[in-house]
């Protein structure tokens, strides 16, 4: 393994000029953001999407959130039994599911603890707002993010695929 470059030693001052000159000719790495954009990694924690129908208002996510930026309100409704003769079910219905992205630390604990797969990470990142209050995403907006949630990607060789 080459420990240091074995090139003939130029005076450092000249070598430095050479490097900057070479770089100048090489072309920039800049991505001109509004005109072109980078695709973040599929796992990137851009924004949290809510699949509302999976949510059972169990409040786990809200409780586990380290800075309590998830606001959930719900109510219970009686529903007819699924099968005939069954017991009458109590269904929790979501009234409000807000995530305050001005507070969120993007730690992903909520996504992880959700027992019903109602929360997903989306790599989407373009939701900046001129007004901080608008960073509070309600459940409709969170639901819209579902469209941008990618399929789970394949894993590297040697990984133990979880039995799903």
């Amino acid at each position: 393994m080459a420990k240091t470059s074995k090139k003939p030693k130029l005076p450092g001052l000249v070598g430095g000029l050479g490097i900057t000159f070479k770089t100048m000719l090489k072309g920039a790495v800049t991505v001109q953001y509004p005109h072109e954009r980078e695709d973040p990694a599929p796992r990137a924690r851009g924004v949290i999407a809510l699949k509302e129908e999976n949510c059972t208002v169990c409040m786990l996510c809200a409780r586990q959130c380290p800075d309590w930026c998830i606001y959930i309100e719900g109510h219970k409704e009686k529903r007819p039994p699924r099968r005939e003769g069954g017991r009458e079910r109590t269904v929790s219905l979501l009234d409000r599911f807000d995530i305050d992205y001005a507070l969120c630390m993007y730690c992903g604990i909520c996504v992880e603890v959700c027992p019903f797969d109602a929360l997903f990470w989306s790599p989407e990142y373009e939701y900046s707002e001129p007004n901080i209050a608008q960073l509070l995403h309600d459940k409709d907006k969170l639901g819209e993010w579902m469209e941008s949630v990618p399929e789970p990607e394949p894993l590297e060789i040697g990984a133990e695929v979880k039995g799903k």
Binding site: L13, G16, R43, E160
Partner: protein, 396 residues
């Protein structure tokens, strides 16, 4: 299990006599008072990284005394951990040294695992090690460029940032977070590597080697840079150790002490073929040089680990609700900035009872009053830059 509380012993070292010359020089014409000037560097001074305030008394351009004032960024993490569960704590400690967050998580998770008696599966340990080294590379690349900027070169930081971006992309691709991965779990990792990552990582390591060569020629090899940093801010090994300086800063003073090798074994460093770099001089330049070599060494380690990555699960069997049994543990690791340690006391609840965080930068800057005595104002900057601290790591 061995006694978890005693830290690894420091090796015996010899102090070069000329190190004391520094102190003798510091007796700057005290008998001729030209009127001292008090210069307030910071907390919003561009020369300080973040919000370190340095109250410097000057005689002309010579420093008579320097007083670091810290705490502008204190966020009370030690206290906060007492009201968080173990999984939540990792998101907090991500933010201590925000440039190498992944490395911050490791000792804490490791401590919790020790208390619970769980061992992470080998694949998880390997991936943890890879990510730790990647975060080390990312941190050091930033340093290698930034140091140039502090000495006045405009271009190196851009190279540092440019090539660090590739490493951050790798971390993001695995963990989903560029800066704050929050990827460690007690007993393993959150997820496995995504498909194609290993190849990409190999390519990136080539970029890292290139970047090291470039920066070596552009910065370390530059005569002006040498003139600015050679024999500036000399820390003699024993004084550094006495002040609690650790990590690359101490190794640049000739102390051959690296917790990855000398500490209690953690992660998979013992399986790898690598060496600890030291430099006898102890000046700013040698600190730069040591970090440069360590960056290369880390990249080499990553390549080795990619070759020897075992297959298997990434998570051990862990109860769903994590309660750590009663007990206390001291865990220390070699973070990019130096010795990082957590003293975790558990009373059996879902969260720790008390956590004491030993962060590297806090101890590293504690040598500043000693180190800055007698230097010139421009040297303050190079010394600060050469010590390389992260404010979050000081203030916690």
């Amino acid at each position: 299990m061995t006694d978890t509380r005693t830290p690894a012993p420091l090796p015996e070292i010899e102090v070069p006599a000329e190190a004391w010359r520094h102190l003798a020089d510091a007796q700057v014409n005290v008998e001729l008072d030209t009127g001292d000037m008090i210069l307030n560097l910071g907390p919003q001074h561009p020369a300080t990284h973040g919000t370190l305030r340095l109250v410097v008394r000057l005689d002309g351009e010579r420093v008579i005394s320097a007083d670091p004032v810290i705490g502008y960024m204190h966020r009370g993490y030690e206290k906060l951990t007492e009201v968080r569960t173990y999984p939540q704590v990792t998101t907090l400690i991500n933010r201590i040294d925000w440039l190498s967050s992944f490395a911050n998580e490791v000792p804490f998770i490791h401590g919790a695992e020790l208390l619970m008696g769980i061992e992470a599966p080998p694949r998880a340990e390997y991936i943890r090690t890879i990510l730790t080294e990647l975060s080390r590379i990312a941190t050091f690349l930033l340093f290698l460029g930034e140091m140039g900027l502090q000495v006045g070169a405009l271009t190196p930081p851009f190279y540092g940032f440019r090539d660090r971006e590739h490493v951050l992309n790798l971390i993001e691709a695995v963990t989903g977070g560029r800066f704050h991965p929050n990827f460690n779990r007690i007993g393993g990792l959150k997820d496995d590597l995504p498909w194609g990552w290993i190849n990409e990582c190999r390519n990136t390591m080539k970029i890292v080697f290139d970047a090291c060569n470039t920066l070596e020629e552009l910065v370390a090899g530059n005569e002006i840079f040498e003139a600015r940093t050679r024999s500036i801010g000399i820390i003699p090994g024993d004084i550094g150790a006495a002040y609690g300086v650790s990590g690359s800063n101490l190794r640049a003073s000739g102390v051959d002490w690296d917790l990855r090798r000398d500490g209690k074994p953690y992660l998979v460093y013992n399986d790898l073929d690598w060496r600890v770099w030291t430099h006898p001089d102890g000046d700013s330049w040698s600190r730069y040089w040591v970090r440069l070599q360590e960056t290369r060494e880390s990249a080499r380690m990553v390549v080795q680990m990619l070759d020897g990555l075992p297959s298997g699960p990434i998570m051990a069997k862990v109860p769903r609700i994590i309660k750590v049994p009663e007990g206390e543990v001291w865990v220390e690791t070699e973070n990019p900035l130096g010795q990082m340690g957590y003293y975790v006391v558990s009373k059996g609840a879902t969260g720790p009872f008390r956590v004491k965080i030993r962060s590297a930068s806090f101890s590293n800057v504690s040598i500043l009053p000693w180190l800055l005595r007698g230097v010139y104002v421009p040297d303050i900057i190079t010394i600060l830059a050469g010590l390389y601290f992260i404010l979050g790591d000081i203030d916690r």
